[in-house]
């Protein structure tokens, strides 16, 4: 098999209120399992996911699982640095966690922007949709509207327990990050000297030139 040409490494954040299932989503996504025995996240935890995006591209996702308790918000500036995208998670069975979504988005946008000054891509995850109490997201149109207003690139109903929509949500986020990166390169382009544009001169080595 031919070796992939392109490799990308992206730091992704997973944020949202306490107990909404951030750690479970990451566990499902990276380790393909779910356990009701898990531990509260203190500070931050990490996981790595490798995606074979297409035959020529490998995408490595460094997932930062950030503690949901409010006081760890004092540390988020440090955790957010150089992230390329984020998932904001809420629990469909607890309306208060949805109300906190806008707060998390504002926190993120106030502390983190892409090198071109634009906000990073964020996907909204309505987790625990297997529990059948998702009155919040029954109105898809309303959710679309909410995402538009608050600058989310998309939203998904997810379940870490039943493995619903987690891969899809991640592909959506990565797609937007890849697209953003093309934009980024274009913005920076005027300042870049592209070696392949300069005509390749055939120069003999200095030693030969002297003789």
């Amino acid at each position: 098999m031919q070796a992939p040409h392109k490799e990308h490494l992206y730091k992704l954040l997973v944020i949202g209120d306490l107990g909404v299932g951030k750690t479970s989503i990451i566990k499902r996504y990276v380790h393909q399992n779910f356990s009701s025995h898990y531990r509260a996240t203190i500070g931050v935890d990490f996981a790595l996911k490798v995606l074979h995006w297409d035959p020529e591209t490998v995408v490595r996702l460094q997932l930062w699982d950030i503690a949901g308790q409010e006081r760890f918000g004092n540390m988020t500036r440090v955790y957010y640095r150089e992230a390329m995208g984020a998932f904001i998670v809420f629990d469909v069975t607890r309306p208060a966690t949805f109300e906190a979504v806008a707060k998390w988005k504002n926190d993120l946008d106030s502390k983190l922007t892409l090198p071109n000054g634009k906000p990073v891509s964020v996907v909204l995850l309505a987790n625990k949709c297997d529990q059948g109490k998702d009155v919040l997201v029954n109105n898809g149109l309303k959710m679309d509207q909410f995402c538009k207003e608050h600058g989310f690139v998309g939203w998904f109903e997810t379940s870490a327990k039943e493995n619903i929509n987690i891969d899809e949500a991640s592909r959506c986020l990565v797609k937007h990050i890849l697209a953003n990166e093309c934009d980024l390169i274009e913005t920076i382009e005027p300042d870049i000297v592209k070696p392949h544009l300069t005509s390749p001169k055939v120069v003999s080595c200095s030693g030969c030139a002297k003789s």
């Binding site: 898990y38 509260a40 203190i42 006081r71 540390m75």
Partner: protein, 252 residues
């Protein structure tokens, strides 16, 4: 008196054959001897045919230390407990006159069954327990109770003794220090303390850790840990160039 009581409890449980040797040293006598119900309805845990724990009380999970650990013979363990009980009864004398010996014995290991602290403030814990507590903290604490050491025999069962005691001491702390309230990072510390001692002593131990040894680590603004973090990042690391660009200080 307290130490004698503990000692009797230990030997009673041992004589009655309730305790395997390792557990004699684990400080989890009560949960084993008189709390069969604490295993509750947890399916994964109940699935284990034998409730075999390592010497720290773990049934499995990443903290499980397995059976490879070395264990001390019972008679040695008993000798050590007796020596320690004797030292406790003349503690000041031992510290002032035979400090080297105390140091040596500490290094051999303090028997787990004796790792309790004396009560610091009699009656205060009960008073804190009676107070209602701020729902804002209680809500967060409740969400964390089943998320501490789920593979430990004390904490495996929802609503079991371990989780109940954890709730009691975390709640008591929010009343003791309403300005600090509850920080999620306190829960695993409190749970480890509960593995070694009853709730009241564990509470006072937690107070010592949070107020005396790590002041500001768990406070609302997490000031102390952020400061320590910056010092850590700015400290010159041998073999590495200056780490300024990677330090969180640059982000502020």
């Amino acid at each position: 008196m307290r130490w004698e009581h503990l000692y009797q409890k230990t030997s009673k449980a041992y004589q009655s054959g309730l305790l395997p040797i390792q557990n004699l040293m684990s400080g989890t006598l009560e949960s084993l001897a008189d709390d069969v119900s604490s295993m509750g309805s947890d399916s994964e845990i109940n699935g284990l045919a034998l409730r075999k724990t390592d010497k720290y009380g773990f049934l499995g999970g990443s903290q499980y230390s397995g059976s490879l650990e070395s264990s001390i013979p019972v008679d040695v363990a008993r000798q050590r407990e007796l020596k320690w009980l004797e030292m406790f009864s003349n503690w000041d004398k031992w510290l002032s006159r035979r400090f080297q010996k105390v140091k040596l014995r500490c290094r051999k290991g303090i028997p787990s069954s004796l790792r309790e602290l004396l009560e610091q403030n009699p009656g205060k814990f009960e008073e804190l327990e009676r107070a209602p507590g701020d729902p804002k903290w209680l809500d967060v604490i409740e969400k964390d109770l089943h998320r501490q050491f789920p593979f430990h025999e004390m904490f495996a069962a929802r609503g079991g003794h371990g989780q109940q005691d954890l709730y009691r001491i975390l709640k008591a702390y929010t009343i003791y220090r309403p300005d600090e309230g509850y920080c999620q990072a306190q829960a695993p510390v409190a749970a480890v303390l509960l593995m070694h001692m009853p709730a009241e002593q564990a509470f006072w131990c937690l107070v010592q850790i949070c107020d005396k040894y790590l002041p500001g680590y768990y406070s609302a603004g997490l000031e102390a840990i952020q400061l320590d973090g910056e010092i850590f990042f700015c400290a010159p690391a041998p073999g590495f160039p200056a780490s300024t660009s990677a330090s969180p200080a640059a982000a502020h």
